[in-house]
């Protein structure tokens, strides 16, 4: 085995865990672990794929270290950090070494990074629980577009599954081409290609309520307290294109 190998996984969480498990067992220090989707031509590296075991024994084993630890591992997987696979590898390696106390060892670079990434992912997911905007379709389905930095569509779906349980809804992640569809107490997240996003027909009252919301949004601000910097800190501009109350502003400012 060669320390300069690049290892490939299929993009899924389980496959990544399996790859890391094998690398750890065989005492290999990878310089890079990449998802097949993100693979660019890397002529100087030796690209390898490790065969995967089908059981999820390793995941269970990691969960046993502690639930908090395992959740952080999963959050790192969801993040868009360029280096997330390696951070996960080293975080897991230290988890195996130190056990549940690993999450208090911020002195270790990979632990600090993993914890920061995890809180970033959860922060974004929490923010989007508020910022997601549904529009009502002719078919009475509610539809929202998102384009989050991290892959939080699963967290959001769990949230809306409880909240809008008697409605039917879809959330479409434009950045990842992921579509979450919910009807009758279940949601499914699927990969879609070429969804015609301008072809939806909206319900007859959609414009009316969007308009009322815009009126409310503008009216509720107190002129004498104007504080755009604060507004932007709490609600970063990257979310504005999907929020109907901000759309005219985005078109002007982008």
């Amino acid at each position: 085995m060669n320390d300069f190998d690049v290892y490939l996984y299929d993009g899924s969480f389980n496959n990544l865990l399996n790859t890391i498990e094998i690398l750890i067992k065989e005492k290999i220090k990878p310089i890079k672990i990449v998802s097949e989707e993100c693979l660019e031509n890397d002529l100087f590296s030796n690209i390898k794929k490790k065969t995967l075991s089908i059981d999820n024994y390793f995941a269970k084993y990691l969960k046993n270290i502690s639930n908090d630890f395992f959740k952080i591992v999963y959050d790192v997987y969801l993040s868009d950090n360029q280096n997330k696979e390696l951070i996960m590898y080293y975080f897991i390696l230290n988890g195996l070494k130190y056990g549940s106390k690993v999450i208090y060892l911020r002195k270790l670079k990979c632990v600090n990074e993993a914890l920061n990434i995890s809180s970033y992912v959860r922060r974004e997911s929490h923010k989007l629980k508020g910022f997601v905007r549904f529009r009502k379709l002719e078919t009475n389905f509610f539809l929202a577009f998102i384009s989050p930095t991290n892959n939080v569509i699963g967290y959001l779906s769990n949230h809306f599954k409880k909240r809008l349980s008697n409605e039917s809804w879809m959330i479409y992640d434009l950045k990842r081409d992921l579509l979450s569809i919910y009807t009758k107490n279940k949601f499914m997240i699927i990969k879609v290609k070429d969804l015609e996003k301008n072809n939806f027909k909206f319900s007859s009252d959609e414009l009316e309520f969007a308009n009322l919301w815009n009126i409310f949004y503008k009216t509720i601000a107190i002129k004498q307290r104007t504080n755009k910097r604060c507004q932007m800190n709490f609600m970063p501009k990257k979310y504005w294109p999907y929020m109907i109350e901000m759309r005219d502003l985005v078109e002007k400012s982008y």
Binding site: R106, K107, F134, L164, F209, I215, F216, F234, E245
Partner: protein
């Protein structure tokens, strides 16, 4: 009158209430629409930087009272509107389904009588809960002077019910709101406290005080709010910088609302609720107002410099909280991490400590961040003021959830 126009009028006259919090409720979705989020969710931020969580509207801006600071007082010539219960339900449901809001914050001017107005509010919320099966968050303002059985009825339908104390002393209230008195407000608070349960105002009550409309000191204000926290178990007191909407010889003429002062009060309120400070630690008869240049915690630390510097590897949790730049989250992280290794200055940043503030008040593994001789009041104070000056461009942000 069109629904758009009504919404414009009734949102505009509701906007001065500072509260938009939607936290603290555990209401679940019971085969209907919506649930509460215990930590609260902000759905948008308006151009004044405030969190929008609830559809904050008045049922009507007609009012038989004449509170001097209020835009809706009866002597004002403003356009009046009234929402029907059905209209309020339609807007709430449709906004909620589209995830614009976390719920409804309904308040009202007083029409005919307190009880009549209460009954209208009850009718609206009953429709929302029972016909539309809405399980999202609802905050209502109780009408001062309403009968107890109506308070009981309305409280059993909502997550939060509250009454605004408006001003820090009864005299100020008499002066500016001749139709109100503190007893009417505290009676409501007492009733809510006594009846609070899982099925009655489960997210607790809050209140609001207007800052700068009368000449009370910060000490008066903090005494009132501490009293409210202790006596009626309020979840939050909101401080709202006075914004002149009416001209009146009893009202001050301010150009800008006292936002900085409001900010200091929120900071002090925070210190008392979460950091175990007492009012007397922060203010006394000789210093009845907060320092506008330095936050209350830093001012306290400078007055009590003999308690510093603290060794972060040894100090107790409560002592760590007293260090400017260390909050509950970073204090907890310090405690959990130092069990396993000795903390150095580099590590503190990773734990969320704001080092540029904290460094003056701590020792790290026995070392001060610079020469020990610099540990004196003048050096520290001048440096902190200098740094705050550099940061001045950063505008104040309200304490959000």
């Amino acid at each position: 009158m069109s629904i758009e126009e009504k919404l414009k009028i009734l949102a505009d006259s509701a906007k001065y209430d500072a509260s938009c919090s939607s936290s603290g409720s555990k209401r679940e979705n019971n085969n209907g629409l919506g649930n509460a989020s215990y930590s609260g969710i902000c759905h948008s931020f308006s151009s004044d930087g405030r969190c929008i969580s609830l559809l904050k509207i008045l049922m009507t801006n007609c009012c038989i009272f004449d509170c001097k600071y209020c835009i809706n007082r009866k002597s004002n010539e403003v356009k009046r509107a009234l929402f029907t219960p059905e209209e309020i339900c339609q807007i709430t449901i449709n906004f909620y389904q589209r995830n614009y809001i976390e719920g409804l914050f309904l308040s009202s001017g007083i029409i005919k009588s307190s009880d009549y107005t209460m009954n209208k509010l009850i009718e609206t919320i009953t429709l929302l809960r029972c016909k539309y099966h809405f399980n999202g968050y609802i905050h209502v303002k109780a009408i001062p002077g309403a009968s107890n059985y109506l308070l009981k009825k309305l409280g059993s339908l909502v997550d939060r019910m509250s009454a605004n104390i408006e001003l820090p002393t009864n005299n100020a209230l008499k002066l500016l709101a001749p139709d109100k008195n503190q007893d009417k407000v505290t009676n409501i608070m007492q009733f809510i406290k006594e009846n609070k349960s899982k099925n009655f105002v489960n997210a607790g009550q809050s209140s609001q005080m207007i800052i700068g409309a009368t000449n009370e000191s910060d000490l008066n204000i903090m005494q009132m709010s501490t009293n409210l926290y202790n006596q009626y178990h309020l979840k939050r007191v909101f401080y709202s910088a006075y914004i002149p909407v009416n001209k009146d010889r009893f009202l001050p003429s301010l150009k800008m609302p006292p936002l900085k002062r409001e900010h200091r009060l929120y900071q002090a309120d925070w210190l008392i609720r979460y950091y175990h400070y007492k009012i007397n630690d922060l203010l006394d008869d000789n210093h009845p107002n907060f320092d506008i240049l330095l936050d209350p915690k830093t001012s306290w630390a400078l007055r009590n410099l003999n308690q510093f510097p603290l060794e972060v590897n040894k100090a107790s949790y409560n002592d760590l909280l007293k260090v400017p730049g260390i909050g509950p989250t970073s204090a907890k992280k310090i405690i959990s991490n130092r069990k396993y290794y000795t903390l150095e200055y580099n590590d503190l940043k990773k734990l969320g400590v704001i080092l540029k503030r904290a460094k003056y008040f701590i020792l790290c593994n026995g070392k001060y961040f610079t020469n020990n001789n610099y540990f004196n009041l003048n050096f520290i104070k001048n440096n902190l003021l200098l740094e705050d000056n550099i940061d001045k461009k950063v505008q104040l942000c309200l304490f959000n959830e």
